[in-house]
Symmetry: C2
Subunit: 218 residues, 2 copies
Amino acid sequence: MDQPRPDSVPDPAVRRLSLYLRQLESFKKKDRRTISSKQLGESLGLTDAQVRKDLAYFGQFGHPGIGYRVDDLIGQVRHILGTDKTWNVVMVGAGNLGRALSAYRGFSSKGFKLVAVFDNDPSKVGKKLGPFSIQPLSELETTAHKQSVRLGIVAVPADNAQEVADQLVAAGVRGLLNFAPVSLTVPRGVALNSVDLAVQLEQLSFQVNLSPGPESRR
Amino acid sequence: MDQPRPDSVPDPAVRRLSLYLRQLESFKKKDRRTISSKQLGESLGLTDAQVRKDLAYFGQFGHPGIGYRVDDLIGQVRHILGTDKTWNVVMVGAGNLGRALSAYRGFSSKGFKLVAVFDNDPSKVGKKLGPFSIQPLSELETTAHKQSVRLGIVAVPADNAQEVADQLVAAGVRGLLNFAPVSLTVPRGVALNSVDLAVQLEQLSFQVNLSPGPESRR
DNA sequence: GGATGTGAATGCATTCACAGCA
DNA sequence: TGCTGTGAATGCATTCACATCC
């Protein structure tokens, strides 16, 4: 509500913020009370300066000579990311991937709550997916509004992904996480992140080819 | 084998290369024969200059006045990414996520072939996961060598991920795709990409909070 | 001493803008 | 005319290095 002016923050910094949070929670589990930018950076392969600059975009959270108090910083970063409040999330697509995602533990511990699963396949509607009764897409808008849902997961085949995205946006969803291997179009003001398995593997393929390794196996 | 000197290519350019490939294949399906950098860029929200510069890092694939021949460019990009040959891939973790990933169609059409699935849970070993018989990790090294596996997918809980990564590396795997919500350490020369659901959702949370949208619903 | 926060310097990546070719 | 390939210019992000504070 009254952040110290995230006037214009580099996008990469925001991505790293999530990683910092993950590390901090892991340090907290090991009962670390404070941590320096050097230690936090090393645990992620980043420099200390990078860590300090990233955090400084959002405020002064550290203590000279001491470092950062783990508990404090966790709270601060959660607040920055907006995950100190819980986000209701819907998912469209009750296939294999949908099942896997719906079973994801730690969804809730991270500030997200899956509240409904949709699919238009008549053979699936009404069936259970974990604790969720699969609903038809016709109920998307009503459910989304009733539960103030602002985030949606697209876990349908590529062919239907754009259509589903449109329906989510129409239902008031403001951020989409897309797992279909296709480039989606969303209106300005709607956030979009995509995860494509093939793209990930292709990146590895390229990188592995760069360092050919031991050419001969004896 | 004899690329025109990928002397030093910006990392972001390589990431976009995968997206270009995806778009090109989609254009090919629609029977487009040629495409300009402008059109390719627009389909991904990028500028034409960006597309041209990215491709030019690897060679001269275009034709002034014409654009790029779709078929040609698909072949070129596949060659650059290394997916013109097939990569054998192993997966560790036969839980929900493992099942979903193993069922992923288009794995093979993209140049990857899942050849084996491993899990150390005794209640899973020997069972089937799709067409795969789940093997114990003790067989990882033998299988990986026999099939010249260089890529591995980590789909186990966070607590075991580092251990599994170490075993994959020991088995000769040179690139890891990690789905566990933890920061892995790998030796120099081993490529690593990570996908963390929580991180993705946190990015959306941040972005959605930036543009608060219609504050009032009438 | 040990650590942060931050201007200044550096290093990359993107965009511009245009020569040159079909 | 239409479009590529590319040096030059711009704009961002990272790193440096140091004043400052516990």
